[in-house]
């Protein structure tokens, strides 16, 4: 049976892992290859490395970070943040990413999803879908530029559309929940996983093992979390132990 994945996320800037709430007040949280290897040893099923620098210099550093992490890591690595074209994706894949996530660029030009899928295969084309509840409370809309801009695009319709364009996986982040430690947005997760037939990774809001369990029960194929692991409150191992006891299929 296919097991559910536990995916720690490393937000990286200038060659370091950073953490903060909604990308504000970033604090240093360690060396990417060292943390990556530690998570693999704890039992992580995959890693996501998100480049949160916003400058061309930062992007170049990110490629170098991917290279260093790859040498240490023998589990899959997804890299996202600032990917604007198949050419950007190629650089990251050559450096050692196995999958590449596109976010803002996909909203501006969905063709970039198809370009990446055509050149490298759907299995390495991940769309990072950032969603927030509409201000009138009715449904969700896509947000871009690290949550700074609301697009008005219906998040559920967008999820179905990116799959048509060749996305092989959706990394779904609730911008309302991210950094709040109040749990994943289960309604959003359920709505997205119902309209697509590709795997969906839940992201945004996890603070306890119970939150991860809820997301998996709501239809997530994988759960992503950052601070819950960085703070050392839980290890991937203790969370997997908890999920196994709750009968979730987990890789031992």
């Amino acid at each position: 049976m296919l097991t559910r994945r536990i995916i720690p996320c490393l937000d990286c800037r200038d060659g370091r892992v950073v953490k903060g709430v909604k990308f504000q007040g970033l604090r240093d949280a360690g060396d990417p290859p060292t943390l990556a290897r530690a998570y693999e040893l704890q039992g992580a099923d995959e890693l996501v490395l998100l480049d949160v620098s916003a400058t061309p210099d930062g992007r170049a550093t990110a490629v170098e970070t991917v290279r260093k992490v790859r040498e240490m890591l023998s589990i899959p690595l997804t890299v996202g943040g600032g990917v604007r074209s198949a050419e950007n994706a190629r650089k990251l894949l050559e450096a050692g990413a196995d999958k590449v996530g596109v976010n803002t660029a996909a909203v501006e030009n969905p063709q970039v999803i198809r370009d990446i899928a055509d050149q490298f295969g759907s299995q390495c084309s991940v769309v990072a879908l950032d969603a927030a509840r509409r201000l009138d409370g009715d449904g969700w809309e896509v947000v871009v530029l690290s949550g700074k801009k609301r697009t008005g695009i219906d998040a559920i319709e967008w999820a179905a559309k990116v799959v048509e364009f060749g996305a092989g996986e959706i990394l779904l982040t609730s911008w309302d929940r991210d950094g709040t430690r109040s749990g994943y947005d289960l309604q959003l997760l359920n709505a997205v996983s119902r309209v697509t037939n590709v795997p969906v990774i839940a992201s945004g809001g996890a603070a306890t093992p119970q939150h991860l369990l809820e997301a998996l029960d709501a239809g997530a194929d994988a759960v992503l979390a950052a601070s819950i692991f960085h703070d050392g409150e839980y290890t991937v191992g203790t969370i997997k132990q908890f999920l196994s006891e709750k009968k979730v299929p987990i890789r031992p």
Binding site: M1, L2, T3, R4, R5, E40, D45, E46, R67, R70, E71, L73, S74, I75, P76, L77, R90, L93, E94, A95, G96, A97, D98, Q119, F120, G121, S122, Q123, C124, G168, E169, N197, V198, P199, D221, A222, R251, P252
Partner: protein
């Protein structure tokens, strides 16, 4: 100390090669990437990684003359590891690109997973090899595939996995090993598999030739 074995890794596309190379290095090998059929003829170990689609990959293998060299390696039984799409390319045909001929080393076809499961299969699934397998052991491996081999051909020892349907997750025959999963992304279990193949394959070449007689 023995010299690190040289491994020619065939460039069939662009993605994921860095992971394959890093995995082989961790297993103690000295891998290099090549598009030159002569390298594939004369290097002791060859890896056929797979990324992208069946049709374009076959076009590339045929265009570079690599397809013929791979068939020669099969006849000689020389150590060869195929990964993911690499396993599928050994077959005759695939649902992915109907009408495109594969390498035809295995006289069977590749099918798409049923609609009842999420496609692609992304994640760790359980691999159960037959007890006579030389390289493969029970364990969890990382998969990233939309298509699968429903059955193993005669003469090959399979491992099975279930995703909606039972499918062949790996096959071995003499010094040949083909995996639908990614050993280079399958943690310590995958690393051990690479080491097993590197250390045992040379001694199994003859057995493969005998089988073909």
């Amino acid at each position: 100390m023995a010299e690190a074995p040289k491994v020619a890794v065939i460039r069939t596309g662009l993605a994921n090669l860095a992971s394959v190379l890093a995995g082989l290095r961790r297993a103690g090998a000295e891998p290099f990437v090549t598009e030159n059929p002569a390298d594939v003829q004369r290097t002791a170990y060859v890896v056929l990684p797979g990324v992208g689609a069946f049709g374009p990959a076959m076009e590339k293998l045929n265009g570079t003359g690599m397809a013929d060299v791979l068939r020669e390696r099969f006849e000689a039984g020389s150590p060869t590891l195929s990964v993911c799409l690499g396993l599928q390319l050994l077959h005759e045909a695939s649902d992915e690109n109907p009408g495109v001929a594969g390498l035809g080393i295995i006289p069977l076809s590749i099918r798409k997973f049923p609609d009842t499961v999420r496609i692609p299969q992304l994640g760790w699934n359980e691999v159960r090899p037959e007890s006579s397998a030389a390289y493969l052991q029970n364990g969890f491996a990382y998969f990233a595939n939309s298509y699968h081999a429903p059955a193993a051909a005669e003469g090959w020892t399979p491992a099975h996995t279930i995703y909606g349907v039972p499918f062949v997750s790996a096959i071995e025959r003499g010094a040949w090993l083909a995996c639908q999963f990614h050993p280079e992304l399958s943690g310590d279990w995958g690393l051990q598999l690479l080491k097993n193949w590197l250390s045992l394959a040379p001694s199994r070449v003859i057995a493969s030739e005998l089988k073909q007689c």
